[in-house]
Symmetry: C2
Subunit: 185 residues, 2 copies
């Protein structure tokens, strides 16, 4: 049974789950091989089409799968998955099935071949739209083509990496919506 | 009197304050004009030299100051500054001195002409190193050339924007350092 009940999420609102700067799990697939990596260097770049940029190190096993397939899924984990997040970031998928090793469930996406991680409350299917900055900066520019989010998770305890093996967990909500110009909401 | 006592911070460790994905205040200066903008779309790109990428909208008054000067300062505010952060993001500096309007103090940097915001616990002086992605993506690539951080602030209550006028505040610390490979710390 799926961990979360997820629904299609508006691509224009992807920032609601990515702009906070969470550590994400990047899943990928190429010719029967799949992998997962932990990633924290990323940013939104555009609302519509939804563009997302991230840095990937070419020493990662995932790098080849992602570059060859031109696809990935950005999965957002919460604090209950911290053991898996840290474990995944500290081993290589070249000799290990990370889904099996960390008890994670691969689910089929709808627009890409890379698998979704069921245990993450939000999944963003991505297609590579610009690799011109990859050789110089390791910077991949993606279009988010499909998004799945569990609507029941309204205050996800996302993980925010601060180096030295430590994370901050997303805490309380500050609602300033009444002080925003309507066009800025 | 300065709000914080700050010391030089190792550039290689800039991620400790930026990778968590906080909303930042970008300060800039050009020919006697200064400005501040609120910004949430950014990412680390490299440790050494410390490279940092961010998206800036060309409709912002700051955009011209930043593009012309090729400099900015990335200032990290905490939750006590939320009123100013929201106010700055919802007005334009073309007709307003934002330092004066929001009670913020401009301090001289050491490597760039853009001012530091004293009330922010961390300030990163940046020089533009690559503007080739600016026209297409609004993406500026910066080298962080000097960093100032208040060492007394060990768990800053940074603001993480999730859209719709709402922020998450950085919460509790999870220390997984004993599960990291030494080369990953």
């Amino acid at each position: 049974m799926a961990r979360y009940s997820k629904t299609d999420f508006p691509l224009h609102d992807a920032r609601c789950h990515l702009e906070t700067g969470p550590i994400v799990l990047v899943s990928s697939a190429w010719q029967g091989d799949t992998n997962i990596m932990t990633m924290g260097w990323h940013t939104m770049l555009q609302f519509t089409p939804a563009l997302f940029g991230c840095y990937l190190w070419d020493g990662n096993h995932s790098y080849d799968l992602i570059r060859r397939s031109g696809e990935c899924v950005i999965n957002v984990p919460t604090a209950d998955l911290a053991d898996a997040v840290v474990g995944i970031g500290n081993c290589t998928g070249s000799r290990l099935d990370k889904f099996e090793a960390f008890g994670l469930t691969a689910m089929a996406g709808s627009r890409v071949n890379a698998p979704l991680i069921d245990e993450c409350y939000a999944n963003f299917e991505c297609r590579l739209v610009d690799d011109r900055q990859v050789d110089e900066y390791g910077l991949f520019i993606w279009e988010i083509v499909q998004a799945h989010v569990a609507p029941a998770v309204t205050e996800p305890e996302t993980l925010h990496y601060r180096g030295k093996g430590q994370f901050r967990v997303a805490g309380r909500v500050l609602d300033y919506s009444d002080r925003f110009k309507p066009q800025n909401l």
